[in-house]
Symmetry: C2
Subunit: 201 residues, 2 copies
């Protein structure tokens, strides 16, 4: 069986949200699975000197317009910028990493639920209780999910995940690897699709 | 007749080169013409704090790979990073602006020829004589083209073009407006296409 697609995302990334709605079907269409990697762009940006998109002159204003237009373009009609944006993504990221150690499919389902809670319903998933509650709605034990946010081993696992991402060259969200080939942005999903179909071009 | 599409580009921008090979056909498919606007991203970047793409940690390495892959993806097989890259784009930009005042179709044809000379043939079009020579191959008087590079009125016209671009929110290359709607990047051409087809979405 072909290797999984590596999918890196920050829970505070609008394009990551749009990509998260697409990646499983894209992979499945080519007999692939997806390995979901939550990361923290704030840490990555210290490496690259980048600033959060919406704070950049000119680009910031454009980005807000492009988030909404890209959501419509990709058929995701219920996107909205949450009341609190951006957020630090430690809590939801740790819950997903904790779940990955137990049940990878459940972890992916919870990741998608967390993204929808944030970018569709406006829930502030940076609050550990709020993130745990979203996981609970997917059948996860809420108390255990809440405890995972403060678990030193899970904290270390997230740090390691971010460091590995940087070591692989990840500098944005979403970021995908197909058999080692890197693709940044949902606007490279057309290239990802062709790469999967042809084995490279 | 519908308004022209505004196409902003920097002659040193690889994605601008790829877009320049596509924009006329894209527009014509929807009964539109293209208004070609050469700009200087260096001036724009002072406004946004951005750095040239290839100098950014992580992103720089990725970008070089993505330039070549995106060229192949878009069917532009002869793309290569020129020996001197990036370059200041004053000379070719001024020649195009000078020509726009005389013959807009010729100006667009010369713009495409200049881009090909740089990104296909490796000609350093930042050298006024080299840029004038490319224009001459399209039927322009070489001495007049060369003189335009040093013409104070043309210099001022380029400055004004860049200032107007910034005032409209342009922060990258390529950058397109369709009936006032802004699109950044050749990776938004799918959205440009749908916008032209539907009048907005």
């Amino acid at each position: 069986m072909a290797a999984p697609i590596d999918f890196y995302f920050d829970f505070s990334s609008p394009y990551g949200y749009l990509a998260a709605q697409k990646i499983d079907a894209l992979a499945a269409g080519h007999g692939r699975t997806v390995d979901w990697h939550p990361i923290l762009l704030g840490v990555v940006f210290k490496q690259t000197g980048a600033a959060p998109l919406t704070t950049v002159p000119l680009k910031g204003e454009y980005s807000k317009r492009d988030f909404a237009r890209s959501a419509r373009f990709h058929g995701i009609a219920d996107f909205r910028i949450p009341p609190r944006f951006p957020i630090p993504a430690q809590a939801p990221s740790r819950i997903v990493l904790w779940l990955k150690g137990r049940d990878r499919e459940l972890a992916a389902r919870v990741a998608k639920a967390l993204y929808r809670a944030y970018f569709r319903d406006g829930v502030d998933i940076s609050i550990p209780e709020a993130a745990a509650s979203v996981a609970a709605a997917e059948g996860v034990d809420a108390a255990q999910a809440r405890a995972a946010v403060d678990d030193p081993a899970i904290k270390d696992a997230l740090k390691a995940e971010v460091e590995q991402a940087i070591a692989r060259g990840v500098f944005g969200s979403p970021f995908v690897f197909v058999d080692g080939e890197p693709f940044w942005g949902i606007d490279r999903f057309d290239q990802v699709e062709r790469w999967l179909a042809t084995g490279g071009f």
